[in-house]
């Protein structure tokens, strides 16, 4: 688990408060590192079978995929239905160069990032002035059209897709990584997840992240304070694309195949449901959401069509009943208890204060 606390350095003449804040910071850092190590070793502890590793790698990949949509949903308040394009671009950027020229994973990853940024720039410019459902309609239509082009273009493998993607090969200078099985790919998938989470955490605190929130919450105020709302929205959209694309990139290596099924509504619904289930503007929302949903699909599956009904129902019920997501639901449930404890502490303090004043009297 990674915790992000808004720790504020308090500088005081005393110095003890600053030190305690520093301690708290290093303690949370330590907890983060321990949490990461535990999660990293978890599949091995759970038996280390191919199925377990497969599940963990898929969770990591789909979490990163949804994280791209989360950036747009949480910081622009817009629903992008076109992120399957970037997801597929990542997959095809891994598939075509690696099968045609046998290039390594770094080159295909660079291609995935470059092409997704290019596609997002084009789509972002076209939808620059659209908002709400028109934005969603346009991005959705774009996804359907790119799917149709992919399906009908032989150079992209057509309806059959591209098979025989070689194992992921990443030269690290001193040592090379080559991996095919899910167990091999787990370190890469985990690293990709951490990198993406780190990137989004950085984005949240960045200038652009703050500006995006301001534009979402009060666009006229943002504009009157000199912000170009269109520019901010465009940049956030472009920034979100390579995250989803890199997930698609690794997905291609995991399956050793890409095809037009990457445009399937499953991925779109998965992206949205995982975020809505847990809540927006929560860093780990997509990770937790994807984990819960994939556990259902893997261990409590009721068949492909049945799982569709489950996924759709989760999405509908969450928005109708608890639109703020599970995390805020739980927080709201325990908040009264916390408040009660604080009141008790306050009362205790008051009592001791009174005792003290009585004594001094």
């Amino acid at each position: 688990m990674i915790h992000y606390t808004n720790s504020v350095e308090v500088s005081s003449g005393d110095g003890s408060i600053g030190r305690s804040a520093r301690y708290r910071k290093s303690a949370s850092l330590l907890l983060m590192v321990i949490g990461c190590i535990i999660v990293y070793l978890l599949p091995a502890w759970l038996g280390g079978s191919t199925v377990v590793y497969g599940l963990f790698v898929t969770i990591a990949i789909l979490s990163v995929m949804a994280l791209g949509v989360d950036v747009v949903l949480s910081y622009l308040g817009e629903v992008s239905l076109g992120h399957t394009i970037f997801w597929a671009i990542g997959g095809y950027a891994a598939a075509i160069p690696s099968t045609t020229w046998d290039v390594n994973g770094w080159t295909t990853a660079a291609a995935a990032i470059a092409l997704s940024v290019l596609a997002a720039t084009m789509l972002g410019l076209a939808t620059l002035r659209t908002r709400e459902f028109v934005f969603s309609l346009a991005t959705y239509a774009a996804a359907v059209v790119v799917a149709e082009i992919t399906f009908n273009t032989d150079a992209l493998g057509g309806s059959d897709g591209i098979v025989g993607i070689p194992p992921l090969h990443l030269p690290f200078g001193i040592a090379d990584f080559t991996g095919r099985s899910s167990a091999d790919l787990w370190p890469i998938a985990f690293a990709l997840l951490l990198l993406s989470l780190g990137f989004v955490a950085r984005f949240r605190r960045s200038r652009l992240g703050m500006q995006a929130l301001m534009v979402q919450m009060n666009a006229p105020l943002a504009t009157s304070s000199g912000l170009d709302a269109h520019r901010v929205r465009f940049l956030v959209f472009v920034v979100s694309a390579p995250i989803t694309a890199l997930a698609g990139w690794l997905y291609a290596y995991q399956r050793a195949y890409v095809g037009p099924d990457m445009f399937d509504m499953y991925f779109l619904t998965m992206m949205l449901t995982s975020i809505i289930l847990v809540g927006t503007r929560i860093l780990l929302a997509s990770t937790i959401g994807v984990t819960l949903l994939l556990i259902q699909q893997n261990y409590l599956s009721i068949g492909g069509d049945g799982n569709k009904v489950v996924l759709g129902t989760v999405l509908v019920l969450m928005l109708v009943l608890w639109p703020k997501g599970l995390v805020r639901l739980i927080v709201d449930a325990i908040k009264p208890a916390v408040r009660r404890r604080q009141t008790v502490e306050l009362n205790d303090g008051e009592v001791s204060l009174r005792k003290e004043s009585a004594r001094s009297r």
């Binding site: 659209t130 028109v134 082009i149 619904t269 449901t273 509908v316």
Partner: protein, 284 residues
């Protein structure tokens, strides 16, 4: 190329597009609501009609009517669940909720009807009407005529009747309309039922022309989106014109260039339009 024949084909395709888009146009124009399950509702209506036709001795008109009634009931159910979101005009959530509904419908249809393609066979599809070297089927004539009548009736109701005025006032401000004694919630349910009925009607009319699949909802809605945006969000007349034009475009693009990339070409038109005129053809 037989220009007259392509023009006829274009008008038939176009009236099909316009017919499928009518429910969405009303929903958006009159109630400022969105429904991303539109395509899946079209699919489900077509499958219900197909199921009744193949499993019972009931004829096409009655099967179509049962399918429409079933969709109307579904519309009531969906709207009851979304009630709070609709009253607060939370468009972003509504969009995702209806997308979820669409996914559920696709799953349910998969469970009930399987994944294989089917065709709705009606007598009207087999009846050819020939004028010189152009021809069309009775089904196609029916689509064209019904679409024109539906658009005419909807336009008259919205612009010329008290019910239309009530719908428009609720769209403007549901809370304020309530203060004037209008039951906004019932009006929303009525509009949503109308959307469901219209999409079901479109499905039973248009779907017999092509094989039906439970996964077709995803593609089915895209033309509706293009019509709704190009026609000027919720503009009934605009939707009819844009629908017909897109039908002609589809027909001639397919004949002159390639049918495989027709949707892509239509989308290119949409993109160019969004850049040039993001607010659509809206004049009001």
């Amino acid at each position: 190329m037989n220009v007259a024949q392509q023009a006829i084909n274009g008008l038939v395709i176009g009236s099909g597009y316009a017919c499928v888009a009518l429910g969405w146009t009303i929903l958006l124009g009159a109630a400022r609501l969105v429904n991303f399950a539109h395509g899946q509702m079209y699919m489900l209506a077509a499958f219900i009609c197909w199921f009744i036709l193949t499993r019972s001795g009931i004829g096409y008109p009655l099967a179509a009517a049962i399918s429409i009634v079933a969709m109307a009931l579904l519309g009531v159910g969906m709207q009851l669940m979304m009630g709070r979101l609709v009253m607060t005009q939370n468009l972003t959530s509504l969009m995702i909720v209806t997308l979820g509904f669409g996914y559920i419908l696709q799953g349910v249809a998969g469970l009930l009807f399987g994944g294989a393609p089917h065709t709705i066979t009606t007598e009207l599809v087999q009846q050819k009407i020939q004028f010189g070297d152009v021809w069309f089927t009775s089904q196609e004539l029916l689509i064209f005529v019904v679409t024109l009548i539906l658009y005419g009736v909807v336009w008259l109701v919205l612009q010329r009747t008290r019910q239309g005025a009530i719908i428009r006032s609720v769209a403007e401000d549901p809370k304020l309309a309530q203060l004037f004694g209008i039951d906004s919630r019932s009006v929303y349910i009525a509009i949503f039922v109308l959307e469901a009925v219209l999409v079901a009607l479109a499905a039973v009319l248009v779907a017999p022309r092509t094989p039906i699949l439970t996964s077709m909802g995803f593609e089915e809605v895209i033309i509706t989106f293009v019509i709704v945006v190009l026609g000027g969000i919720g503009n009934v007349g605009g939707a009819l014109i844009v629908g017909m034009l897109l039908g002609l475009f589809t027909s001639f693009f397919g004949a002159l260039v390639t049918p495989a990339y027709t949707t892509a070409a239509i989308f290119a038109v949409l993109l160019a339009f969004l850049i040039a005129k993001p607010e659509g053809l809206r004049t009001r």
